[in-house]
């Protein structure tokens, strides 16, 4: 399985978590990013993710490789949704297994932080007032 994927289909966290299991992995840290019902004080109804897929793929794989170099981990995986999502939908999933919990937590956090900074995926939020807007990494609107 590729360690990083953009998925047009819903993410299955249980199946992904099984891919991290290893007899020498005593720790598994996961992160789920879900669509919230509000952002920056506005009610959100749904959102779309657009991705520049080939570059997102290679940059995502690079991030996982960096995590493997920086931290003593066993397995790592990240899947990011593309397309239309509703409130509560899983937008991104990261999972890391390691012998010890420090490396699992640190690598999991590194991966989601870097994905949000560097992978060419864009979130367009649709608000209750009928407006929509592309967002910056800090969740403020792109003007």
């Amino acid at each position: 399985m590729t360690a990083f994927r953009i998925s047009a289909e819903p993410i299955d966290p249980a199946a992904l978590a099984r891919s991290l299991v290893h007899a020498r992995a005593g720790a598994c840290a996961t992160f789920e990013g879900l669509v919230r019902d509000h952002n920056d004080g506005r009610a959100v109804q749904r959102l779309d993710y657009q991705a520049y897929a080939p570059l997102a793929q290679s940059e995502g794989e690079r991030i996982i490789d960096e995590a493997r170099e920086k931290f003593a981990i066993v397995e790592a995986c990240c899947v990011h949704r593309a397309g239309a999502l509703a409130i509560g939908d899983l937008a991104v999933w990261v999972g890391v297994s390691a012998a010890h919990r420090g490396a699992a937590f640190d690598a999991c956090r590194y991966i989601i932080d870097e994905v949000k900074k560097r992978v060419p995926i864009w979130k367009n939020e649709h608000y209750a007032d009928g407006e929509s807007g592309w967002l910056h990494p800090d969740n403020t609107p792109v003007v």
């Binding site: 657009q50 864009w122 592309w134 910056h136």
Partner: protein, 79 residues
Amino acid sequence: MNYRVLYFASLRDRAGMDAEQINSLATDARGLYSELRARHGFTMGEERLRVAINGAFAQWGQTLHEGDEVVFIPPVSGG
């Protein structure tokens, strides 16, 4: 020279298209963006964008070649 340009997020909305073929005298991404900015009225300056050439992040001053795919990357907001 002929380049293929892909648009994403707010640039796509402003350009009103996902992609276009461009015949341009620009020899690097900086010159090409300047030309497209004037044509489509993009408000974001080069300092807020990154550029990718043929699917890899690149420098603004990198020389473009016939048929290159060029993408201007607005600030990302995945996750």
